[in-house]
Symmetry: C2
DNA sequence: CAAACTATGCAACTTTGTTGCAAAGGTTTT
DNA sequence: AAAACCTTTGCAACAAAGTTGCATAGTTTG
């Protein structure tokens, strides 16, 4: 586990620090998506809020994590699949938000469908977020 | 126009006030989606921030407007089609966000596709947000 | 191990969203 | 058309979320 974390950070040309390792560990443990505040709560007072913000920013720009659109004002973050590299994401999977337990998961095997758009619109990325009841709450 | 605004408010059992009329007018003018701050800017100091928040909340709960999920922490609001009533929305259309001009539009004629989900997942609503270049920026 | 560089934590601040309450505005009744 | 009634608005004060600059602590490289 620790080796895996180190590997991911080094692959992305990031220095291996305690904060980064611990945040990355949480993402690896917890397969679902997390908002900033979820991460903050996990640490209590052991880590500064600012560090969490900056670490998430760094992970985002390196393509280690990606964001998931939501209808409230929270930003959900989730681990990218291993074949995501800087500037070359594979964010073409469907996301599922459970109305009961509130968790967000990536359905990595369900790819976003092709869509017919009106004339003049050139699509670059398609985001799909399905809400309903998840496997565990059913 | 004024008559139209009055009609919509009365249909939804809302008293016809200046703030509500003016916010609704902006939505009718400006066919695209708007975030809270866009609306605030349009008024300058003529309307209190709190009033904008409360008016949007009211319009949301009555089904006059709906929210559009985003990957940043802003919430986008857009007018519902006229066949939306309280508690019975028709939010099954695709949204398009332009990377160039930043505007968000509802593609009312493109409905969200049916999706095959893994076993145990029960979908209730499907949100689709496409980003790319819009008709005007092409 | 030391020098060079980068990340962290703190403080101060800005922005965004919420709540209670008195005053102003809309609606209804007569 | 005015009074009584109810709802909405604006203000103030607050809470939460996010940002920035800078000194200190931690990491990496030679």
């Amino acid at each position: 586990m620790e080796a895996e974390i180190k590997k991911i950070l080094k692959q992305n040309e990031l220095s291996v620090t305690e904060s980064r390792s611990r945040i990355l560990e949480i993402f690896l443990d917890n397969k679902g998506a997390m908002a900033h505040c979820d991460i903050e709560k996990k640490f209590g007072e052991k880590m500064d809020r600012v560090t969490v913000y900056r670490t998430l920013q760094t992970f985002l720009s390196k393509g280690i994590i990606h964001t998931i659109p939501t209808s409230d004002s929270s930003i959900q973050y989730a681990l990218c699949k291993s074949d995501c590299t800087e500037g070359h994401h594979h964010d073409d999977h469907v996301h599922f938000v459970c109305d009961e337990c509130g968790t967000t998961v990536c359905l990595d095997d369900i790819t976003t469908p092709a869509l017919k758009l009106p004339k003049g619109f050139k699509p670059k990325q398609v985001e799909v977020v399905v809400s309903g009841t998840c496997k565990n709450c059913n």
